[in-house]
Amino acid sequence: MGPDHDQSETEPEVSAIGRRLATGAEPYLYTAPLLILIVVVMLVPLSVGLSYAFRDIQLLDPFSGGFVGFDHFRELEADRNFRAALLNTLIWTGASVALQFIFGLILALLLNREFPGRRLAQALVFLPWAVPTFLVGLDWAWLFNPVVGPLPGWLFALKITHDTNNLLAAPGTALIGPIVASIWWGIPFFAITNLAALQSIPKDLYEAASIDGASVFKQFRSITLPLLAPTLAITILLRTVWVANFADLIVVMTNGGPADSTQTVASYIFTVAFRRLDFGYASCIAAVLLILLFIYALAILSLRRLIMRRQS
């Protein structure tokens, strides 16, 4: 887990001192500002928002607000639109995060080597992250548009598609557009975080392994991956949660269409909240999404703890 100190003599001494040095109040001092901020600014509105799930809140009806118990949840159970949206969410989130991660990790590995022009290349490949998401959506919508964008022509010329129609207009292929846009936008995130983590792995570990005759792949598997794993777990976890909740690109590029084929849970919540004006039901859907994501988070975190325990 760290450099290979000769710990046999100093270890008991350091641990004892360590225990003495960690005073009681210290951890709370460091984490207090964070806790206060989160509780006051987010948890209070969050609880209010969640409470709407049990009430009948119609946005523009000041007389609504009565308690309805689990009615919304019962409605959700039978809601076909929700189930379709959930499936789309799985596809959308899975494909986006997996591909962003893979391409981002490859990029980080490529940039981890010193080479002439590295600084320039690095600066350039990270630029997509600086673009606001709705501009990303508009930009890619234009790229996919047969009248004003080059992509339909190129895809047709490369025999990837069999006509020059807009991918975004057909229910089977519409989700590809936002997924590609999210990959373009999200690669820098994984590339930057992984690169920073890669650079904190001591180079002599690799040197020692090379001397021992380990191949590049073996080094990757036994040195890089395990040391990278904690960062990977957190970034994948957070990115998944964000993407699952992220409706911007879809709303801008396809508005959930055609015929709801790109409607995800996040965009469905928006529709229910701001078109049907039913904040109660929307909060209920959001609460269910929250629970699903929380279960997912617990799974990832247990995995992470397993990996870290195996390392030490």
Binding site: L60, N165, G256
Partner: protein, 418 residues
């Protein structure tokens, strides 16, 4: 951190100084925002401020895209303006909850009330027969057509009937890469469905006496399937299933599709990008019954019921909708006027407006008002119609099935709003 404190201090200082001057501040919110409109609005508001020296008007311009959500959030949290720009489709949502102030008492004593054309007051009063808004202009559909494409396809004149419309579309679509009709399959496409339905059925009656919807009648269904077939047989671009307002206009002026039905305000965008000999405007087509039913929409000004300066707010509305103000406004935004005398204004003598005025004077043209008085209409138009009509266009459902679903929703909405 210091910057934040500095900002807070400045804000405090500013608010204290305004108190000291004892000026009244009126809050005005515009929702259909563009740089040109905001400028025109500011000019009109300035004339109001000049006439009322101790009143200041604070204009908030919401970007149109998210304006509905934004205004709804503000209102739900109690942050309401005094005067707001109110589109017809939102009216029922706000007016039915007592959020808006009735303008009837003010209209009774207003000098210009008698000069308004009868449509103005009629449409302002759709909710509970009370004027919860005073319209500033009307949006009536007409047929824009591309003269160049017509010439290339051998079409000599714009279509006047439904059958001619389909025939012309076929001719233009035979040109490579070109299409006859710019279909609006995405947001805001409800007008076209209603127009085609009414054309085929020969009537603009949405509900029977008992409140049940007429959508399941054979005529309406035929209209729906005619429009769907235009798409399915390739007379509209394949993309158009997802097209919104901006896309159809762009499709038209880029020369991709030859015909579009739209309001006079689209002239602004089109005239900027096309030369006068490239496009023309004709009255909307007539159906087999010999009648035409272009939809008519409207936007206006409303006052919030919790305004603390109601009389002043009315004065502001009166200025905005008054004789000089309203004309300046409509000149900028391209809507049809609310005053009977305005038809004589040189702006409307322009040949490009001829089509609309022909429509207004033709007894066989019946401007169709959609059931915006129903609270459920906003959701129906913005969410249900795009989704179900797209399913129809893509062949996932049939026209009778879509009509059935629509009828159920409409009947329920009408009958529950007694």
């Amino acid at each position: 951190m210091r910057a934040a404190l500095g900002l807070a201090a400045t804000a405090l200082g500013l608010s204290l100084s305004t108190l000291a001057q004892a000026t009244t501040t009126l809050k005005l919110v515009e929702v259909i925002t563009s740089p040109e409109r905001t400028e025109t609005l500011k000019n009109i508001v300035k004339t109001f401020e000049d006439a009322n020296p101790d009143v200041r008007v604070e204009i908030t311009s919401l970007p149109w895209g998210p304006s509905f959500e934004k205004l709804a959030t503000m209102v739900a949290a109690g942050d309401t303006p005094d005067v707001v720009e109110m589109p017809d489709v939102w009216l029922a949502l706000y007016a039915n909850n007592g959020t808006l102030e009735s303008l009837e008492p003010y209209l009774k004593t207003w000098q210009h009330t008698s000069e308004l054309n009868q449509r103005t007051l009629q449409l302002g009063r759709v909710v509970r027969s009370t004027a919860y808004m005073l319209p500033y202009g009307f949006y009536l559909r007409a047929l824009y057509y591309n003269k160049r494409l017509f010439a290339a396809a051998g079409v000599s004149a714009p279509p006047r009937t439904l059958d001619e419309f389909v025939a012309v579309s076929k001719k233009v679509s035979s040109l490579p890469g070109k299409y006859g009709y710019c279909l609006r399959g995405g947001a805001g496409g409800v007008n076209a469905w209603m127009m085609f339905g009414a054309l085929a059925s020969g009537s603009d009656v949405f509900f029977n006496a008992d409140g049940s919807s007429t959508f399941t009648e054979a005529g309406w269904i035929k209209g729906f399937s005619t429009l769907a077939n235009i798409y399915k047989s390739g007379l509209a671009p394949k993309d158009s299933v997802n097209w919104g307002y901006n896309d159809v206009i762009a499709g038209f002026y880029s020369g991709t599709c030859a015909m579009i039905e739209n309001d006079p305000d689209a002239l602004i965008a089109i005239a900027e990008r096309m030369k006068p000999d490239e496009y023309g405007v004709a009255p909307w087509i007539k159906g087999p019954s010999g009648k035409s039913f272009p939809t008519i929409g409207y936007t206006g000004w409303s006052m919030f019921a919790n305004s603390k300066h109601k009389d002043l707010a009315w004065k502001l509305i009166a200025t905005l909708d008054g004789v000089p103000g309203n004309l300046v406004w409509n000149r900028r935004i391209g809507a049809l006027p609310i005053y009977t005398a305005a038809v004589k204004d040189p702006l409307y003598a322009d040949t490009r407006f001829k089509a609309w005025f022909d429509e207004l004077t033709d007894p066989n043209v019946v401007p169709m008002v959609m059931p915006v008085d129903l609270r459920a209409w906003a959701l129906f138009a913005s969410s249900i119609v795009p989704r179900t009509s797209q399913s129809l266009l893509l062949g996932q459902i049939t026209a009778p099935e879509m009509a059935q679903e629509w009828a159920q929703i409409m009947t329920k909405a009408k009958q529950s709003q007694k």
